[in-house]
Symmetry: C2
Subunit: 213 residues, 2 copies
DNA sequence: TATAATGGATACTGCTACTATCTGATTCGG
DNA sequence: CCGAATCAGATAGTAGCAGTATCCATTATA
């Protein structure tokens, strides 16, 4: 497969493919001549993965690179895959937290302890949750971490099912990829479904179908 | 309150405040002299809202502007608020869908019908969900819309509680704002909680605490 | 009154994610 | 076997976004 076929097969423009090659996201094809290289199905798959992470997951190219590095790193022990994948997927938390956020993080820790959840102190999602709490307060809602209880229960439900569904089968790289794709794609799906459910449970369907009223 | 006090009170740099003024996200202060304007608490609140939508919600300035326009539009009837807010918050869906996505959308419609959910055909989240399904397929997972069933149930649960919690009290603008903030902030919280739950339910805590092994 | 800060306009910057162009092979249709 | 098209790779350029910086003629302040 030459670059133009790869491009056609995946729907990614040739200059973009070249850009990914330059950035090291995509391995170079097997060179058969100074200006001829052979790409195989694995290249097309990798290209699809890159695009899904970018477009569905909204990851930057740099973050995609980190995720791919985790997928490719054969030295990672299996039991660390989940953590590494999560860290690679996490948004680049803005350096040091404000005092408000640090305070909120402590509240979040208590909340998680009440739930019986054990998470590492470095989990990026801890910070995100604290920031969400601070956001609510800045906007005048005087609430504690317990506002998140319904969401925590729902999240716990899904996560339990998802984790049990990820078997140990397949090779290591395939397993990390599955983890990453699951995290990213089902997150997008969950968010979309919540919004659809909002629409359903609020009574706005009629309003949307008859916008004139 | 002068601009420097507004800046200090909210933690937003003065040039950034000026940028928001230029873009019309923030109303100008009441001018008391050619180079003196008075800002009030409402300005600080609006500034906080802008930052939350940007940083927690990840919205672009353009999208923030659309959301604020919906909040400020006094002519919107109350029963359309939810729909308008959702549309304003939605990511700018890339024009026309591919054939694959269009096909997936039909499957999603069936899936939603099976759930008994009634959503408008223009709901942007429908497209997002279809795109998630297409992403899974591009990566070699041969699955139907029913893979989303657990997520749909969880999303339904939360949405039901959230919708029932949003009363009709307060003035109209405050109500839309609450809707928007709830959608954005609890979405971020839900996503963070899912990741934390992943960490808890997979057995990776020990691995993270003793990374050397 | 000297110094600093203000509001507003205009111009500039840094970053990201591509695009475009160039070059010297190489392949392919006739 | 020849000329047009295509190729891989390198280098340079672009568009858009979200601020930043600078300038100006005031106005507040020590």
């Amino acid at each position: 497969m030459r670059i133009s076929e790869l491009s056609r097969a995946t729907g990614v423009a040739i200059p973009t493919v070249k850009y990914y090659l330059r950035e090291g996201l995509l391995a170079r094809g097997n060179a058969t001549a100074p200006n001829q290289a052979d790409y195989v199905a694995a290249h097309a798959h990798r290209l699809h993965l890159i695009r899904v992470l970018r477009e569905v997951g909204g990851l930057s190219i740099g973050r995609v690179a980190a995720v791919l590095a985790a997928i490719d790193d054969a030295s990672l022990p299996r039991h660390e895959l989940f953590g590494v994948a999560q860290r690679a997927l996490a948004p680049p938390s803005a350096g040091s937290a404000s005092a408000q956020v640090t305070l909120a993080e402590a509240e979040i820790d208590l909340f998680l302890a009440d739930l019986g959840w054990e998470v590492s102190a470095e989990a990026p999602a801890r910070r995100s949750l604290a920031e969400a709490l601070v956001a609510l307060r800045k906007l005048g809602r005087d609430c504690g971490a317990e506002v998140f209880l319904p969401h925590a229960q729902a999240a716990g439900h899904i996560a339990e099912q998802e984790v049990s569904g990820v078997g140990a089968e397949g090779d290591r790289a395939a397993a990390v990829e599955k983890l990453v794709v699951g995290t990213v794609v089902f997150e997008a799906a969950l968010v979309a479904l919540r919004r659809l459910a909002h629409e359903h449970y609020s009574g706005l369907r009629a309003a949307l179908y008859t916008p004139g009223q």
